[in-house]
Amino acid sequence: MGKFFNKDRVGGLLLLAFCVTYALLSQDIRLLPIQARAAFNARTMPEIFAVLGVGLSLLVIVFPSSREPISLRQFALGKCALFLILMSAYGFTVRPLGFLLSTSLFLMIGFAMLGERNVLKLVAVAVPIVVLFWLLMTQGLDVFIEPLPAVLRD
């Protein structure tokens, strides 16, 4: 079983699921009766791509080009998951907390997660970068982003 699920097959299966979902959703594209009769409408290309995608996924699954097994042991998956959560949290906090605070926190937590334990270093590296970047964007490139948390504005 382990040998069957090699890198190509697992990738092929994942993409097959994606292509099938895409194919099903392509049928939800609403067309006016006049559009539906046209030789080329909003569904034409999605349907062609769906057929190609499903066909190619099946080819990858049936005729894998390499039978290399998947080995995740060398990867720090937990750390990667934590960074994904951190990035998502950054997306949710950048507006309410303001750019300076949310970005400084993002960077400091990121540095700490990768092994930096010296709090002084965390602050000394993150804060100047964030402030300089904010100044560069707002003063240099005229791109304004709210620097302060919502409670401190006005």
């Binding site: 990738g11 594209i29 559009q35 999605p46 190619l56 080819l59």
Partner: protein, 510 residues
């Protein structure tokens, strides 16, 4: 043509644009030097800044970042044996042994002179070829463009690597699928938006590029940090900070380099022009060719610090990078992942690359070509002396560098849209990209599919309209048919050739 060169010189030599070339080369070298981050990530990271500039300046900046990143990649190959991208792998074969023997400065100088010569010679070829090809391709119709796009997509997939043709084709189709998300351009119908208003305008090209390259690269590097600072990373730090030694190149070495540069420039340019082939194939081909031409005595030095072995791939990859601009500027078809990103940026400016670019936006067309010379000169006179200092970036601990790359990727996209939904979408795409990259599925064909998808659909729709809804144009128009036949050959030959070779070996074995 002279008028064009003058337009290009005036635009590229303006103080502002000259500054962008210098900044671009420096930033590109800096980013390209970071292991894992190649020209694609470097250009993607620059798009948010370039989008605030006028088109000529923006493209000049991105082109400068491109050469800078290739140069930076070579530097990390030579100094720490960690090629940033595949196109500089061949550079490490002889560059690293040379550096290990205390001649790091010389190796960097040889790489810089070779890159410079390859880039400059190829830019001359580009100057001669591009206007001619552009004028020829003015006769192209929608049907031909559709066929050309098919050829471009197939070619990129076909050159994706041995045994990976079907996977690359599948990724191309995935890119095409993603390009259909959003409102349909012709009928105004929403497609695959899942009822979300944020997807009505489709998926941002910048978002996809950042998530699949910069973000996924940084996440993969984070995943590889299992166990904290390793011996390898400490060795990398030591290698990066060691003495570089003299940067002087002897007369004898120059004599050895000259013919290699000549041959590799031509080879690199031709390979670069072919859609999909790109700098990696060019550098390996040039390395192999020179090894064969070197003879028994000199050939033995390859892999042990040969001047020829270092000069050939460095010349060829830069010449190929320049060559890849030919299909982009003349046909509007990107020949590589990097030029695909540049195409996306040009479209963002409202500029449609292709034969009409030469007529409609001559300042962009010519200033890109002229800036290639300027960029290469800047790399030689500015970056080479600065290398000992820029190389210190390789000594920055990854625990600081990786979160910074994540931050620049996220904020680069956010600063363009100011929509936090984009950050969440990036996270989703990053998960998909990391998964697929672990499973050895290539990303560049997907980006190319994504960028060409919309144009392909539009050209096919137009072709059908012109042909009264008949698909017969595919075989009735000779030019369209010829291009499609070439596309079919590009697809079939890599499958059939190994089979024939295998059969031949079996027959010889019998």
């Amino acid at each position: 043509m002279l008028d064009g060169i003058l337009i290009g010189l005036t635009t590229a030599l303006s103080l502002q644009n000259l500054a962008f070339v210098m900044i671009g080369c420096l930033v590109g070298t800096f980013i390209g030097m970071l292991p894992g981050l190649g020209p694609m990530s470097a250009i993607a990271l620059m798009i948010p800044i370039a989008s605030t500039l006028d088109p000529a300046a923006g493209i000049i900046l991105m082109a400068a970042v491109y050469y800078g990143a290739i140069f930076g990649g070579s530097t990390s190959s030579i100094l720490i044996n960690a090629p940033g991208v595949a196109s500089t792998v061949a550079t490490s074969f002889d560059g690293y042994p040379m550096a290990k023997s205390g001649k790091a400065g010389k190796a960097l100088a040889i790489a810089a002179y070779s890159s410079f010569s390859g880039g400059v010679i190829a830019a001359i070829f580009l100057l001669l070829a591009a206007p001619y090809l552009a004028s020829v391709s003015l006769a192209f119709q929608s049907t031909d463009y559709f066929a050309l796009m098919v050829l471009g997509l197939v070619a990129v997939a076909a050159f994706a690597g041995s045994g990976g043709l079907v996977k690359a084709l599948l990724m191309t189709v995935v890119g095409l699928m993603l390009s259909t998300v959003g409102t349909d351009q012709t009928q105004g119908v929403p497609r695959f938006t899942l009822g979300m208003l944020d997807l009505i305008d489709g998926i941002s090209f910048l978002l996809l590029v950042m998530a699949t390259f910069a973000l996924s690269e940084a996440l993969l590097a984070i995943m590889r940090t299992k166990g904290g600072d390793t011996d390898a990373s400490r060795k990398q730090e030591r290698d990066a900070t060691r003495e570089l030694g003299s940067m002087a190149v002897s007369k004898e070495e120059v004599r050895e380099m000259v013919p290699v540069i000549g041959r590799s420039s031509v080879l690199g340019f031709i390979i670069g022009v072919l859609p999909g082939a790109g700098a990696t194939i060019a550098s390996f081909l040039a390395y192999g060719t020179e090894q064969r031409l070197a003879g028994a005595k000199k050939g033995k030095l390859f892999g042990k610090g040969s001047v020829r072995g270092l000069s050939a791939p460095e010349t060829a990859n830069n010449a190929a990078a320049t060559g890849s601009f030919v299909p982009l500027l003349t046909l509007g078809i990107p020949g590589s992942g990097t030029t695909a990103i540049m195409l996306g940026a040009l479209i963002g400016y409202g500029i449609q690359p292709g034969p009409r670019l030469y007529l409609d936006a001559p300042d962009v067309f010519w200033s890109v070509i002229v800036s290639m010379w300027i960029g290469n000169i800047v790399l030689l006179i500015l970056n080479l002396p600065l290398i000992p200092y820029i190389a210190r970036v390789l000594a920055i601990p990854s625990r600081f560098l990786l979160p910074l790359i994540l931050f620049f990727s996220l904020i680069g996209v956010y600063f363009v849209s100011f929509n936090t939904f984009d950050i969440q979408l990036m996270v989703i795409f990053a998960v998909a990209a990391v998964t697929l990259r672990i499973l050895d599925f290539p990303m560049a064909p997907m980006i190319l599919g994504f960028i060409l998808g919309g144009m392909m659909e539009e050209n096919l729709r137009r072709a059908l309209l012109i042909n009264d809804n008949s698909w017969s144009f595919l075989w009735e128009r000779p030019l369209t048919l010829s291009i499609l036949v070439i596309a079919a050959l590009v697809l079939i030959v890599p499958i059939v050739l190994p089979m024939l070779r295998k059969k031949k070996t079996e027959m010889q074995g019998d």
